[in-house]
């Protein structure tokens, strides 16, 4: 049986302060970002989770009312840590940004009502991402009066793998378009941060063919853009039920039904033919899936990144399971 050697959380990743969590749509990226924030906060650290796609998914995850555009405490972590959450409102961020250079006064509100801000972000599609990455950088580098970082770590529930490099490097692209102006100045800071050892880009994947393929492509893209892939976060990992030696045969449809029936009878279960057939079919499907998972692990092993696993939560995700997932991450060395 092929398995990924689980390296866990390396020293290098542990040093990062900006944790960008990306993944193919449908892999549970937001949930994993939430669990990671809790895990990083465990033991008394202060962590900020940032949401950039305007879905209020973080509020749902932590079971709080929709978040305003401010940093709100959403959870306490074991050992005295805390997780705050920020839902970046692009319009508010633009006004905040403008007010750094101009005194807009009440005109800001009027512009908002007119839809002018939405228009401006539409006009320059990258402007949105510039504002988002700019705000993230501000959170990561913010210090208190004593010069200490306000947040020990910032976790970003980032855009999906297909858009991640464009998102992180948007200031680079915009700097080419806007050769002067504040964007130019700001972009240098963001570019420095995201390309430094302070930033790790984690990839959430399931043990399925398509998400794994996208993960591998994303790692190549990140490497190509000189961004640092952090860890692979294997989500919804299900326990293998079949004895390892039975998997291949079962995946080919070879399950000894009469043997199973006899063994079940010995255990006190006298089942109908239909039920035995049903059980065998479930077993074959399970084996095919386990087989595919093994192939996926083998492919992931080739990109040679640290990996941590989050177990499948059959009853869905609530705040309680989020803590369980965080604990699983801490057990695997996340710190």
């Amino acid at each position: 049986m092929v398995t990924t050697p689980v390296v866990g959380w390396t020293e290098q990743i542990a040093r990062a302060r900006l944790h960008v969590v990306t993944g193919k749509g449908g892999t549970g990226k937001s949930t994993v970002a939430g669990a990671l924030a809790l895990a990083l906060a465990t033991g008394g650290r202060r962590v900020l989770i940032v949401e950039v796609e305007g879905r209020q998914g973080v509020a749902q995850l932590f079971d709080t009312p929709p978040l305003p555009y401010s940093e709100e405490k959403v959870a306490s972590a074991p050992g005295g840590g805390e997780v705050r959450a920020l839902h970046i409102d692009v319009e508010a961020a633009l006004l905040e940004y403008l007010s750094m250079f101009y005194n807009l006064g009440f005109a800001g509100r009027t512009l908002r009502k007119m839809g002018a801000i939405e228009f401006a972000t539409t006009l320059a599609p990258g402007l949105r991402d510039v504002l988002l990455t700019g705000k993230i950088k501000e959170c990561v580098t913010r210090t208190d009066d004593s010069g200490r970082h306000v947040y020990d770590a910032v976790v970003v529930d980032a855009p999906p793998t297909g858009r991640i490099v464009k998102f992180l490097d948007v200031t680079k692209a915009m700097a080419d378009l806007a050769k002067v102006g504040p964007i130019k100045g700001q972009s240098d800071g963001v570019v420095r941060l995201v390309h430094s050892g302070d930033t790790a880009v984690h990839l959430v994947t399931l043990l399925e063919e398509m998400p794994v393929r996208e993960t591998i492509e994303a790692v190549e893209e990140l490497d190509g853009a000189d961004l640092r892939p952090g860890a692979i976060l294997l989500n919804r990992v299900r326990p293998p039920r079949l004895p390892a030696r039975s998997v291949t045969a079962a995946a080919d449809g070879e399950v000894d039904a009469s043997r199973v029936r006899e063994d079940l009878r010995a255990a006190g279960l006298d089942l109908s033919d239909a039920d035995v057939d049903g059980l065998v079919e479930e077993t074959v499907e399970h084996a095919i899936r386990v087989h595919a998972e093994q192939r996926a692990r083998a492919q992931l092993a080739e990109i040679d990144l640290p990996a941590v696993e989050l177990p499948e939560q059959v009853d869905g995700i609530d705040v309680g399971t989020l803590y369980e997932l965080a604990e699983a991450l801490v057990d695997q060395g996340v710190r």
């Binding site: 002018a116 228009f119 320059a124 102006g181 079949l242 010995a266």
Partner: protein
């Protein structure tokens, strides 16, 4: 809750367009392809417009190369009663073609060379949706096919598909940009006077942020585009009307997961408020239980077998059955919640395939599951 009759839908000659929509990662593309394959095999002259198919699915449809026009699917062993063509959307080319069709050659070249146009046509978040609509309009106008199956772009929110054309349309509308670029443009002063002084400041601020060059490019683009704009809007309006006509059927696809079903719920409500014809919901990749054995009984027996240690396979069979019962119960609960909120929406549940689909046989198989054909 009634059952969504996919065969009834594709056999009805009045069904001309089937739109598969839903949030990302639920299997829209595969569902669209499976419906098209089945329709062709049942005698329709069908075309499937896919947006971003997985590579192997694209190969299964003979779409190894990116082309922006439909190509007939000729695969050994595929001999449909009707006919199947397939295409993959190339949004940039669709946009370029549209510009060429609407502008004179000189003006078209101007627009195509504009840096702002290049940004909008390749990276604006609504462009893909808009171009999918445009392509759909073209396929309908061509009159070659009697059934068009459309996959929708892989957005996070299913509603983007309906909203994006409007957003892009607003962006391309000249009014705002004339305000922003102000005095340099004819009429700029006139409009400037009636809006608050804050706007001038805002225009200055925006121009400082994005850089004057970008605004100038945008302005040049909008001017060149102005003459074509009426045509664009008219086409978008016609496609919108087409989507509301009785020949169209929306098939909402969702996985039995909370987020996907929530999105499906929003979409269903939105379709109703836009008077767009909903055929029903495909609950994709379910895990029905295949044996009637209750989970507690299975787990008890598994523990007994494990204690003896001499029937590891049977014990595993029982444990994985109990996992499956738990999963099926969760899926049923989630779907029941949707049904309660939307009792009138017809549904069909499509059991998950054990492995990924990457050939026509697999698509045919999904077609069977979509129609509960044994």
């Amino acid at each position: 809750m009634s059952t969504l009759d996919v065969d009834g839908l594709i056999d009805d000659p009045d069904t001309r367009v089937i739109v598969c929509c839903g949030s990302g990662g639920v299997g829209k593309t595969t569902t669209a392809a499976a419906i098209a394959v089945r329709a062709a095999e049942r005698g329709r002259t069908a075309v499937v417009l896919t947006i971003d198919p997985a590579r192997r699915l694209a190969q299964a449809l003979g779409l190894a190369e990116l082309g922006n026009v439909p190509r007939k699917v000729t695969v050994p062993g595929f001999d449909p009663k009707g006919e199947l063509s397939a295409m993959m959307l190339d949004m940039r080319r669709t946009f370029d073609d549209m510009v060429r069709a609407h502008a004179g050659p000189k003006r078209a070249e101007e627009v195509l060379a504009n840096p702002f146009y290049r940004t909008i046509s390749s990276s604006f978040s609504g462009t893909q949706e808009y171009m999918a609509m445009e392509k759909l309009g073209q396929l309908v106008a061509a009159g070659t096919w009697d059934l068009i199956v459309v996959d929708t772009p892989p957005s996070r929110s299913a509603l983007d598909f309906l909203d994006a054309p409007q957003r892009l349309s607003t962006a391309l509308d000249g009014r705002m940009i004339k305000l922003l670029t102000g005095p340099a443009r004819a009429g700029g002063w006139g409009i400037r006077k009636v809006v608050s002084a804050g706007f001038g400041l805002f225009a200055k601020a925006v121009s400082t942020i994005v850089g004057g060059q970008l605004l100038a490019d945008a302005s040049a683009f909008v001017q060149a585009f102005d003459g074509m704009f009426g045509g664009f809007r008219e086409r978008a309006r016609r496609t919108y009307e087409l989507l509301r006509s009785s020949g169209t059927a929306f098939v909402v696809v969702a996985a039995p997961e909370p987020d996907a079903l929530r999105e499906a719920g929003y979409f269903v409500q939105r379709l109703a408020s836009e008077s767009m014809p909903l055929a029903g919901l495909v609950v994709n990749r379910t895990h029905p239980v295949l044996a009637t054995l209750p989970a507690p009984k299975a787990l008890g027996a598994a523990a007994n077998l494990e204690a003896t240690g001499n029937a590891p396979l049977a014990a595993a069979v029982l444990r994985l059955h109990a996992d499956r019962v738990a999963l099926a119960q969760r899926e049923n609960r989630l779907v029941a919640r949707f049904t309660k909120a939307h009792p009138a929406v017809a549904q069909i549940h499509v059991p998950a395939m054990a492995a990924d689909v990457h050939d026509l046989a697999g698509l045919r198989h999904i077609g069977n599951r979509l129609t509960h054909t044994p």
